[in-house]
C-alpha cells in the first residue's frame, strides 16, 4: 500500500491493489488503485477539500459517491481534452489522471474570493435580477465577466475536441435501467426467457448498492452474488450489458437515450475508439431500477468538507476500502444510522455520537449505539463546526442544553428520494408518499415498470422479488414465456424514516442546493418576496438548476417551501424533471456530424476535372460547385469571371448544371398534372419541345421555376432550381397523393442520374456537332430554340439534348447518364479547344443571368409573386393551378408592391451592393421611405459597369427615375437609375440564331 494513502483500510474493498495508479490533483501527485474513483482516491489520500462553491467560494468536499454529486466538481485532464464540471465521484481513476479544483483563486486553500461569503447579502435569491440590472451597458462590460470569473463554471478548452463520438441504435425486448439488486434480477429473469435484454448502469460495475453494503445474499457476500449474476448475463447471447452508460431520457414509443462513456476511464481513447457513444434504444418493455438518492439534512454549515451522505460513507468504506474520517457523528432521521455506525466501527472509525432526529430512536439505532459505543442523542446536529473542514458538531438534544462534539466526519441521512426522473419525462407526475416521506413514481410511460428503491421499495428481499417479477412480466409482454424464479435469500432491513428537512436551531448558513449555492435563507427570502409557486421559487433562487439537476436539493427545497407557506408537500407540487437525467456532452449529441461531416457533401460530375483545373469551389447547399476557374496571372476573382463571361459570349463556355433538380414525370395524365402545378400550360406542349414554367405555393407566392421538356405524349422531364430540388419533389408528390390521387401520373427524382452541361456561346453549335452522333441534325432549322431530343453522343452514349439558354446566348444543355459525366466534360473541353471554349463557374453563370434579367434565388425568395417578378402574364386564365386563387388576393395585386426592375449606377464607375435599400432620391434615411431593395448585382462585362436587379414599389411607372441605393452596413449611398432588367441583347436575337 502506498504510504500516501493514509486512509486506506487494509483488506477492504473491491479495488485492485495489484494495480496502483498515480494521478495529480491541483498539481500534486497521489496514488490510488485500479477500481477507485477520483473521489475515493482523494479520500484515501486524506484530501477532503476538493473545490470552492459557485457563488460564495465556500470550501467544499465530497458529499456523495454517485452521479448526484453537487460539490466535488472538478476540471478533468488538460489541453484540448480539458473538461470542466466533471463529478469526482463518477471519474474512474486512470494512470496519469490530471484534475484541478474549480472556483478557486489563487489557491484552493486560500481563496481570495471567499470574501464573497462576506458579501453574501449581495448574492441572495434573485441576485441576478436585483444587482445587475442597470445600466444595461454595465451588464456586458462589468457584471457578466465578473460573474463568470467569480462564479467560475470551470474553463472549457479553447482547442478543438480531439476525440470522436459515435452514435448507435439498438433494439431490444427489455431494457433494464440500473444494474443493482432489482435490475439484475429483472435482467436475469427476462434473459433466461430468451428475451433480448439490454442492461444499462451508469457506474463501471454492475451491482449498485450491493457493492457498497455488507449484506449477505444467499449466504454469500452480496458482491459475490453480483459477480455470479453478471457472469450468467454475460453468457446469454441475447443480453447486452452497457456499463458506464447513463440512460438520460425516456421518450415515446419505447425510445430511450443513453450515453456510454466508452473511453473516459482511459488516459485517452484507443485508435479508432470513440470517447463516448450516444445510444438510441428502442425497447418493447422497460424495467426502471434506477435506485434512490439519499438526501442531506439542511443544517448549519452542512456544506463543510467532512459532511457526507451516510450511504456514501458506507460506499467508501466497503467498496473502496477508504476511511472517510477518524471520528464520526451520525445524523439521521431513519435506520440508516445503525448500518452506518456498524460499518464505521468495523473499520476502526470512532463513532462519537448518533444523533437521531426522530421522536424516538428506533430499536435498531439504540442497538447500534450500544454495539459501537456511540453516544445516542435524540435531537439534531444544528451546525457543523470548522473553517475548511469539519472539526466538530454542535448538537441540540430534544431535551437539554446544546453541546459540541469533536469529529472530522458527519454522516448524514435525511432519507431517500427514489430516482423517478425517467418516469416523468413524458409528463408523469410523481406521487407523494407520506409514510416514506418521498415522491414515488406516478404514472410511468407505456411499457415501463418501476422496481426496487426507484419505486420506494427499500428492503433488499423485496427489491430482488420485484425485479424478478418485473423481468418475467416484461419478457412475457414482449412475447416470451417467462416464469418468476426462486429469489435469492437476503435479510430484510428496517427504514422507519420520519421527515426532518431543516434544522431550525442552525446558527450558520444552511445549504439546500450545494452546486448552485442556494441556502435555506434564500428560500425564506423568496417566500417573503411573494414567490410561492415552486416553479417560481426554483427560477428565482436557481434551486435545482445546476448541472446536478438538484438531485440532492429539490425535495428538501420543496419541503422547506411547503413549511413556509403552511401547505403540504403534495399541495406545493414538484418541479418537472426533463432530459437529460445527467449532463451529456455536446460532442456525444453531435456524434460524427462535425465540421465537413456535419452534412453530406454532394459532388457534381465534373468535380474532379474542375479540381484538376484549379477551380475555386463554393458550397451551394450540399453541393460543392466550381465558382470560377482562375488562370495564372489573374489577380482577383472579378478579372477571372469577366474573362469567363466575355469568352462565353464571344466563343463558347461550358458549365456543369447537373445540380439542377431533375424529375421524371410520366403517365397518361402527366400533362394535366403539370397544368395544375405550373401557372402556365404544359398539356399543350409539343413532343420534342421544352417550356419555361413557374410554380406557386398555395398562398400565391412563387415556389420555384425551371424548364420542363416533353419527350413523349406521356413522358415529361422537369428541372427545378438547385436549392428547391427536394422541396419541389415533395410538393409534387403531395399534390398527387393528397389532392389528385385519381390522376394517372408517376414521378421519380433523377437528379443524381443525369450529368448535365450547358454549352453556350456563338460557337456552341460547332462544338457540339463534333460530339453528336450522325444523323442527328443540330442546325437551327433541324433543332430550333426550345427543341429537345433523345440522341446519342460520342459514338453511342445515350444522351438528351435541349436547346435552352440561361445565358442569353445560342446554347444547349446536354445530359448523359451520370457515370459518363467526367468523360463528357473532358470530351467537351477537348472538342472546344479549337474554338477557344472554356469552362465557367457559378459566378459567371450568375453574372450572365443578371445581364439577361433572369430571376434567381434572390428574387424567388419566398415573398414574391409571379407578378412581382414581371411574369404575371405567364399565368393561364383557362385553368386552375396551385396558388391561383390566393395569388388573386387584393393585397398581392397592389401596384405599389415592389416589383422587379433593373438598376444602373448614375456614376458608371460606382459599385452596387445587393441588399441596398431603395429610397426616393431626396428622401431621408427612414424606414418609412423604404421602397424596396437590390436583390442581385454584378459587374457586367458587356456593359462595362455594375448592374443590378431589384424590387421597387410602383416600378412600372418609374423607368428612368433616379433613386438612392442606400447601404448603411457598408457605408454605401449610390444614385441609381431605374431601367429595364434586361441589360444585354434585349431582343433576344443571340439565342435564336
Amino acid at each position: 500500500m502506498s504510504a500516501s494513502q493514509t486512509n486506506r483500510i487494509t483488506g477492504k474493498g473491491l479495488i485492485d491493489r495489484r494495480k496502483p495508479l498515480r494521478f495529480t490533483f491541483d498539481g500534486k501527485s497521489y496514488d490510488g488503485f485500479q477500481g477507485d474513483t477520483l473521489a475515493s482516491a482523494l479520500l484515501a489520500n486524506g484530501v477532503v477539500l476538493t473545490g470552492r462553491s459557485f457563488k460564495y467560494h465556500r470550501a467544499r468536499g465530497i458529499l456523495s459517491a454517485g452521479s448526484e454529486e453537487p460539490n466535488a466538481i472538478v476540471e478533468l485532464r488538460a489541453g484540448a481534452r480539458r473538461e470542466p464540471n466533471t463529478r469526482a465521484t463518477m471519474i474512474e481513476l486512470f494512470p496519469g489522471l490530471e484534475a484541478h479544483s474549480q472556483n478557486r483563486w489563487p489557491s484552493l486553500k486560500y481563496d481570495v474570493l471567499s470574501i464573497n461569503s462576506l458579501l453574501s447579502p449581495v448574492f441572495v435569491a434573485g441576485f441576478y435580477y436585483k444587482t445587475f440590472m442597470w445600466p444595461s451597458a454595465m451588464w456586458e462590460k462589468l457584471y457578466e465577466p465578473m460573474i463568470r470569473r467569480a462564479a467560475g463554471l470551470g474553463r472549457a478548452s479553447d482547442e478543438a475536441d480531439p476525440d470522436t463520438y459515435d452514435k448507435s441504435n439498438a433494439f431490444c425486448d427489455v431494457l433494464v435501467v440500473g444494474g443493482g439488486a432489482a435490475g439484475l434480477m429483472a435482467a436475469l429473469t427476462a434473459g433466461r426467457a430468451g428475451a433480448r435484454v439490454i442492461v444499462c448502469d451508469e457506474h463501471f460495475d454492475l451491482g449498485g448498492r450491493l457493492l457498497s453494503e455488507t449484506q449477505l445474499v444467499d449466504g454469500k457476500p452480496a458482491h459475490d452474488w453480483v459477480r455470479a449474476a453478471v457472469a450468467e448475463l454475460r453468457a446469454m447471447p441475447e443480453v447486452q450489458i452497457l456499463t458506464r452508460t447513463s440512460v438520460f431520457g425516456a421518450y415515446d414509443t419505447g425510445t430511450f437515450a443513453a450515453v456510454e462513456r466508452v473511453a473516459d476511464h482511459l488516459p485517452k481513447p484507443g485508435v479508432h475508439q470513440p470517447r463516448q457513444r450516444l445510444w438510441r434504444i428502442i425497447a418493447k418493455q422497460c424495467v426502471l431500477a434506477a435506485g434512490a438518492t439519499e438526501r442531506p439534512i439542511v443544517f448549519g454549515n452542512n456544506d463543510l468538507p467532512g459532511v457526507m451522505l451516510a450511504s456514501a460513507v458506507r460506499t467508501y468504506i466497503n467498496r473502496f476500502g477508504v476511511m472517510p474520517g477518524k471520528t464520526a457523528v451520525i445524523f439521521a432521521n431513519n435506520d440508516e444510522a445503525a448500518t452506518t455506525a456498524r460499518d464505521l466501527a468495523t473499520v476502526g472509525v470512532r463513532v462519537a455520537a448518533i444523533v437521531d432526529s426522530r421522536p424516538q430512536p428506533s430499536a435498531a439505532v439504540r442497538d447500534a449505539a450500544k454495539t459501537t459505543g456511540a453516544r445516542l442523542v435524540s435531537g439534531v446536529v444544528a451546525d457543523a463546526k470548522g473553517r475548511i473542514a469539519v472539526k466538530g458538531a454542535r448538537i441540540v438534544p430534544a431535551a437539554g442544553e446544546a453541546f459540541d462534539v469533536s469529529c472530522d466526519l458527519i454522516a448524514v441521512s435525511g432519507g431517500y428520494n427514489p430516482n423517478v426522473q425517467l418516469t416523468t419525462h413524458q409528463n408523469g407526475r410523481p406521487q407523494w408518499n407520506e409514510t416514506l416521506a418521498a415522491f414515488l413514481p406516478g404514472s410511468s410511460p407505456k411499457g415501463m415498470t418501476v422496481v426496487g428503491s426507484a419505486k420506494g421499495t427499500f428492503s433488499l428481499p423485496d427489491c430482488l422479488a420485484e425485479g424478478a417479477q418485473a423481468g418475467a412480466a416484461a419478457a412475457t409482454a414482449a412475447g416470451f414465456s417467462a416464469h418468476v424464479p426462486q429469489v435469492p435469500k437476503a435479510e430484510a432491513e428496517s427504514y422507519g424514516v420520519v421527515p426532518m428537512w431543516r434544522v431550525k436551531e442552525a446558527k450558520h448558513k444552511a445549504f439546500v442546493d450545494f452546486q448552485n449555492d442556494v441556502a435555506a435563507s434564500d428560500i425564506d427570502l423568496a417566500e417573503r418576496e411573494g414567490y410561492r409557486s415552486v416553479e417560481h421559487v426554483k427560477r428565482y433562487t436557481t434551486l435545482g438548476m445546476a448541472t446536478d439537476q438538484g438531485k440532492t436539493a429539490n425535495v428538501n427545497g420543496l419541503a422547506i417551501l411547503a413549511a413556509l407557506t403552511g401547505k403540504s408537500i403534495p399541495e406545493t407540487g414538484i418541479t418537472s424533471a426533463r432530459p437529460p437525467y445527467s449532463p451529456v456532452s455536446i460532442g456525444a449529441l453531435a456524434g460524427h456530424h462535425r465540421g465537413k461531416e456535419f452534412k453530406a457533401t454532394r459532388l457534381p460530375p465534373s468535380y474532379y476535372w474542375a479540381k484538376e483545373q484549379g477551380a475555386v469551389m463554393v458550397e451551394a447547399g450540399l453541393w460543392m460547385r466550381p465558382q470560377y476557374f482562375p488562370r495564372a496571372g489573374e489577380t482577383d476573382w472579378l478579372e477571372t469571371v469577366t474573362r469567363e463571361v466575355k469568352t462565353t459570349r464571344s466563343a463558347a463556355g461550358i458549365c456543369d448544371v447537373s445540380t439542377l433538380g431533375k424529375i421524371e414525370i410520366q403517365g397518361a395524365d402527366a400533362g394535366t398534372f403539370l397544368d395544375r402545378v405550373y401557372i402556365n400550360m404544359f398539356s399543350t406542349l409539343g413532343v420534342g419541345k421544352a417550356r419555361y414554367g413557374m410554380m406557386l405555393r398555395e398562398d400565391g407566392i412563387v415556389l420555384d421555376d425551371g424548364t420542363t421538356a416533353r419527350f413523349a405524349q406521356d413522358r415529361f422531364f422537369m428541372t427545378t432550381t438547385t436549392v428547391n430540388a427536394v422541396k419541389v419533389m415533395q410538393h409534387l408528390e403531395f399534390c398527387h397523393q393528397w389532392h389528385w390521387p385519381e390522376l394517372d401520373v408517376q414521378m421519380a427524382s433523377a437528379t443524381d442520374q443525369w450529368a448535365q452541361y450547358s454549352v453556350a456561346g456563338p460557337r456552341s453549335r460547332e462544338l457540339l456537332a463534333k460530339l453528336v452522333d450522325a444523323p442527328f441534325d443540330i442546325s437551327n432549322e433541324g433543332f430550333p430554340y426550345m427543341a429537345v431530343a433523345e440522341i446519342t453522343v460520342c459514338n453511342g452514349i445515350r444522351a438528351r439534348i435541349y436547346r435552352l439558354s440561361f445565358s442569353g446566348e445560342l446554347a444547349y444543355e446536354i445530359g448523359v447518364p451520370a457515370r459518363y459525366g467526367d468523360s463528357l466534360i473532358r470530351a467537351l473541353m477537348a472538342a472546344g479547344q479549337e474554338f477557344g471554349a472554356l469552362c465557367y463557374g457559378t459566378e459567371a453563370l450568375g453574372v450572365m443571368r443578371i445581364e439577361k434579367g433572369h430571376v434567381g434565388g434572390p428574387e424567388i425568395n419566398g415573398t414574391t409573386t409571379a407578378a412581382d417578378l414581371g411574369l404575371g402574364k405567364m399565368a393561364s386564365t383557362k385553368k386552375d393551378f396551385i396558388g391561383r386563387v390566393l395569388a388573386g388576393r387584393e393585397g398581392l395585386k397592389d401596384p405599389s408592391r415592389p416589383a422587379l426592375v433593373g438598376f444602373r449606377p448614375v456614376d458608371r464607375s460606382a459599385r452596387l451592393r445587393s441588399g441596398s435599400h431603395l429610397l426616393p432620391k431626396d428622401a431621408g434615411n427612414f424606414a418609412s421611405n423604404d421602397q424596396g431593395y437590390l436583390t442581385s448585382v454584378a459587374y457586367s462585362p458587356m456593359n462595362g459597369h455594375w448592374v443590378g436587379l431589384g424590387l421597387l414599389s410602383n416600378a412600372a411607372s418609374r423607368m428612368g427615375e433616379i433613386v438612392r441605393a442606400y447601404d448603411p452596413v457598408r457605408n454605401g449611398d449610390t444614385l441609381v437609375e431605374v431601367v429595364s432588367p434586361v441589360f444585354f441583347d434585349p431582343e433576344g436575337e443571340r439565342l435564336r440564331v
Partner: protein, 97 residues
C-alpha cells in the same frame, strides 16, 4: 416518435417530414367563395390537445405521404394510412373524381 409506414414498417421520426393538418382539404377553386375558402384552407388551423390527424411525408423512405392520427399530448399514434387511400375515399365520398 416512431411511425409505422404502411410500406416500410415502423421507422424513426428522423425519416419523416411533417406538414401539418390532414383535416383540411383543398377547396373547390370554382366555388362561389373560393377566395375565402382558400384563405381558411391555407391559414386557419385548430390546435387540438389530443387526437389529431396530420400529414407526414416519408422523405427518407418511400416518399409516401401519410395521414397519421397522433395524440399531440403524448405522441401516441393510433392509426396510419397512406394519404392517397384517404384522399381516394374522400373523393368518392364527395362524389367527385
Amino acid at each position: 416518435m416512431r411511425i409505422s409506414c404502411p410500406y416500410c414498417g415502423e421507422r424513426s421520426l428522423d425519416e419523416y417530414l411533417y406538414i401539418g393538418d390532414a383535416t383540411v382539404t383543398r377547396p373547390d377553386p370554382a366555388g362561389a367563395n373560393a377566395q375565402a375558402d382558400f384563405y381558411k384552407y391555407a391559414y386557419e388551423r385548430t390546435n387540438p390537445a389530443g387526437a389529431h390527424k396530420e400529414l407526414w411525408y416519408h422523405s427518407a423512405g418511400c416518399h409516401a405521404w401519410l395521414v397519421v392520427e397522433r395524440d399531440t399530448r403524448t405522441h401516441e399514434i393510433s392509426s396510419v394510412e397512406t394519404a392517397k387511400d384517404v384522399a381516394l375515399k374522400r373523393n368518392v365520398a364527395k362524389g367527385g373524381a
